[in-house]
């Protein structure tokens, strides 16, 4: 049996995700995975299109609120717009779950949060050291637990936003 290669390289396999998508779709998907300001020329490379096409689509995504543009830097940089995407997540929850279901979820998450606080002896997950352990399995176990704890805290906030949206008929501000 041949040895397993964790990072095979060939043009054909490198960009498997691009199959069947048009340029706009590729630029959109690339920017959804970008969390720090990135020059549009680099985004063009990731999306396998011309810099001009990437910039045109990125400007459109910025107008739609999905991307955040920094036009003052040269070249202009873009990243996903976390605030917009969070609102979209909350909006989806508000549309699909009832206020009672949301409150139930929050109650469950609050009890999970309390369990983590007891387990790690602090209310702040960033206090917990995760990576300073020699044992790899321990690092993994702690990384998963502390990350899920942070996820619990964030999801409680997201459900709170969803509850507001739901109680205001989908609006952030009461009519």
């Amino acid at each position: 049996m041949t040895e397993f290669d964790p990072a095979p390289t060939s043009d054909e396999t490198q960009r498997r995700w691009q199959a069947g998508t048009d340029t706009f779709g590729r630029v959109y998907d690339v920017v959804l995975g970008i969390t720090s300001p990135t020059p549009y020329t680099d985004i063009a490379e990731l999306a396998d299109c011309s810099p001009n096409a990437a910039k045109k689509h990125l400007d459109r995504l910025a107008e739609m609120g999905i991307a955040h543009a920094n036009s003052d830097s040269r070249p202009a940089t873009y990243e996903r717009n976390e605030g917009y995407l969070e609102w979209q997540d909350a909006s989806r929850i508000a549309a699909e779950l009832s206020v009672d279901e949301i409150l139930d979820r929050v109650e469950t998450l609050e009890s999970q949060r309390a369990d983590y606080e007891v387990r790690f002896g602090t209310t702040d997950p960033t206090d917990v050291s995760v990576f300073d352990h020699g044992d790899h399995d321990t690092i993994h176990e702690r990384m998963t637990a502390v990350s899920e704890w942070q996820g619990v805290i964030r999801d409680i906030r997201l459900y709170e936003l969803a509850r507001q949206l739901s109680q205001n008929d989908g609006h952030l501000i009461p009519a």
């Binding site: 397993f4 490198q14 960009r15 998907d29 990731l46 979820r105 990350s147």
Partner: protein
């Protein structure tokens, strides 16, 4: 470029990256190698992305295949590939990115038991490129399995 900021070894971690997990779910769900996807604990609180691979693409001796993906807002990730075999054995490996005391932040847990760890180098850390590399490696594994028949 799109690489997450390489800060001086953070001592803690961040929450799951909801948007990246959703993006990867969308692509996994449309991949011919994937039969089914699910979020744990649920779609409203995506923390772990679970992909069930199409068993009919594998020889009969392989009974179940799955891919478990965690992606963190720090840009760290863990992608775990597991094959269950008819004889009760497992064949597994893991693509990981996280600080540790003995390997590079980006490293690979070697099959068949995922215990041996080697440093790993990838041309791009964009989630979609990492995804493509992992799926390509799995395709190669499939070929190896069939040719060993």
């Amino acid at each position: 470029m799109s690489d997450p900021p390489e800060d001086s070894t953070p001592h803690s971690t961040g929450p799951p990256d909801r948007q990246t997990l959703r993006l990867l779910e969308r692509h996994l769900a449309s991949d011919s190698l994937v039969a089914e996807t699910a979020f744990e604990p649920n779609a409203y609180e995506p923390r772990l992305l679970h992909g069930v691979l199409a068993a009919e693409r594998y020889p009969d001796s392989v009974t179940a295949v799955r891919l478990d993906i965690r992606w963190f807002t720090t840009g760290d990730f863990s992608i775990h590939y597991v094959e269950d075999h008819e004889d009760g054995t497992r064949w597994e490996c893991r693509w990981d990115r996280h600080p540790n005391t003995h390997n590079t932040r980006l490293h690979f847990h070697e099959p068949p038991s995922a215990t041996g760890v080697t440093d790993l180098d990838l041309p791009s850390l964009h989630p979609l490129d990492v995804y493509s590399t992992v799926l390509a490696a799995i395709e190669n594994r499939l070929e190896t399995l069939w040719s060993a028949m």
